[in-house]
Amino acid sequence: MAHTLKRIFVTVGVLPFLLLAALVIFTLASDNFLTVQNLTNVVRQSVYLVIVSLGQMFALLTGGFDLSVGTTLAITSVVGALTMSTVAGMAPDMAWLAIVVGSIGGIAAGATIGVANGIGVAVFGVSPFIMTLGISSVGFGIALYLTGGTPVYGMPQTFGDVFGFGTLWGVPVPIYFAVLLIIVVWLIVNWTRLGRYFYAVGGNTKASTLSGINTKGVLFVTYIICATLTAIAGMLLTARLDTGEANIGASMPLESIAACIIGGVSLRGGVGRVENVVLGALFIVLVQNGMNLARIESYLQTVVLGGLLILAVIADRIRIRMMASLQD
């Protein structure tokens, strides 16, 4: 039994154990937890984290990480909202034009963060830690400067109605986006050459170079994909909030990295699966939701989240050690 548990732990990681524990604890703590309505709610709330975590996964796969995802959300939201409200102001009758132009503007602005990270990490060899940390300060500053620190209003009503609160066949619209992006990312990672290269570069950069792979190019693309996915999440979040805000992403770097690590993505690169990252993100939102229902104060929730991240990393280390011992 103990041996079987150990094998399961080594192959799938800590996530199934955590999910089981969370389900049991919160079901016991609140009658409202294990209901269809609440679980649907969890899925809807988790859309943003799921998408950002998918992006974060790319960075982690190549052996780096992206601390600037929060800033990317902020820049996207602010630039997207400013563009959208400007266009809406000039052509009040063409709401969809404003929505399309604004969304493109926001996502392009977010992707620019990825370009900057990519240049730093791939071309100049700056460590991802410093590069994304630095860029996150730069970007956050720009977002605050653009808005003067106040929320941006004036987007067409339709934007929030459709992309924030809309439903199609009874399912919230953001969920369609999440599902679509999960499929796209899954295809990229598993069925394209580029996807394979993320794993190879993260697993052994030198061996990848010697196999003829343009490792710098792969790293560059990594950060652009990460930022673009995050930017899409940023526009969806802006629609939900109905305002452009510079302060929306502060907890995202921690939560997205936690979701990936809990989902079994290795911090050393080269290992990770899309489906587990999605589960990792769902788990985090599930825990937050459960704690809300159990009336745990939001300050304490932050404590729990940090603890879970560290626990997941410790579990990862133990797993590596067990892997070695199972080999013998």
Binding site: W191, T192, R193, L194, G195, R196, Y197, Y199, A200, G203, N204, K206, A207, S208, T209, L210, S211, G212, I213, N214, S266, G270, V271, A324, Q327, D328
Partner: protein, 504 residues
Amino acid sequence: MTAATSEPALIEVRGLSKRYPGVLALDDVSLGVRAGEVHVLFGENGAGKSTLISILAGANQPTAGEIRFRGEPMRLASVHDARARGISAVFQEFSLVPQMTVAENLFLGAEVTVGGLLAKRRLKRMAVEIIDRLGFPLKPNARVETLTRSEQQMVEIAKAFRAELNVLILDEPTASLTERETDQLFELVARLKAGGVGIIYITHRMQEIRRIADRITVLRDGKFVATEEAGVAEGRLIELMTGREIAELFPEVRSEIGDVRLTIADLTTARHSVDAASLDVRAGEIVGLAGLVGSGKSEVMRAAFGLERIQSGTVHLDGEDVTGRKPGEMMDRGLFYVPPDRRDEGLVMIRPVRENITLPALAEPPLAKGLGLDRRAEKRLATTLAERMELRPMRIERTVDHFSGGNQQKVLLAKCLTRETKVYVFDEPTVGVDVGTRAAIYRFIADLAERGAAVVLISSDLPEILHMSHRAIVFYRGRIRAEFEGEAITEEALLSHFFEREAA
């Protein structure tokens, strides 16, 4: 066991083994070092010398066997533990903190304190005492990063003297020293000998063995081969080191030599690891590159493959100038370099065999399908190649690090079959590989040549060069020293160019 003489050993190992996942680095080795002797460890790279001394220095724990110190069994749990008994090692990789001063480094981990505070003045005085006693021209306040490599080595040696010294282990200490510095080091060794210190000394240089060795222990493939007294003939040592193996290990290469495929002309690398080297390789030909580690034999091909910056000179492949192209571009044009260290450069250890084998071929048809990947074709290719290499066990979805060293090597070699290749470069293709797999690898290389490929075989294993090469080129300090063809490729001929030339 030759160590069992009347004189008791100062430090002795019995039946020492060290197993790493997939490799037996040290296999039942026994030897003794007496007080006041210089005991040389001699053997090829990967023979187990480094593992042995790292265990003696406390940096590594043996899997089996025991260490005796003055007849008493002992366990060395850490480097600190070994130092406490007066056993110190100077490795090729220094354990110095560059940003700290000489004095701070000397007492790192053994700082003297008064009431919890560093006794800085006393530490400095003690440092000066040690430096003076050894006669080293070192300033105690100089920061280590400002010192030359030989000065850093002095600091490393001086560290051994902060307590009573019984055994000093030196790992190729003269590799970066000038002749004068070497003389100084040998004087020091002589003084230590006279003081009853046992010295374990690793070197590849015959001249040094003649100068300072009292006894020489030869290791091969992790096993003890023999311990010889000083004055043993060099030929005998080399025979012991390389170990003549059964002739069938090497296949006969029946290939037809064709046109020139690869031409390297006057190549000098940016860091001068290769200096004005010229060579060419023909279709069907196996050209062996021999020489010591760092002689340029590997670097010249790495530079040609685009892994090292080229300062001057040209590389032509089938007449096309390909100087300074990237590895990917070289592979597209038909040059494939198989690196020596499969863990470091060759394989993505945490990914499955299938992904590793096909990694170089994903960008090309038939595996490439637009931007996508034909996973069925990929699986077919990986299976075919794994079968051809006789991978054991035949499990291509297993991660590479779960295979033995020999089978990992097969995966590495399989990679070069995924691309259409005109010139294969094998850099130490049989390192850490058992005899059976070795024979298979030689057959594999011979096959490639017989089918008309040009092959460059870079090796520190002399018999490999002797038996496989149509031509053999010896490198020494970045330059081509000699070239032999056919019957002229003999051990004596090659070895006479390996080491520095004797003063006539």
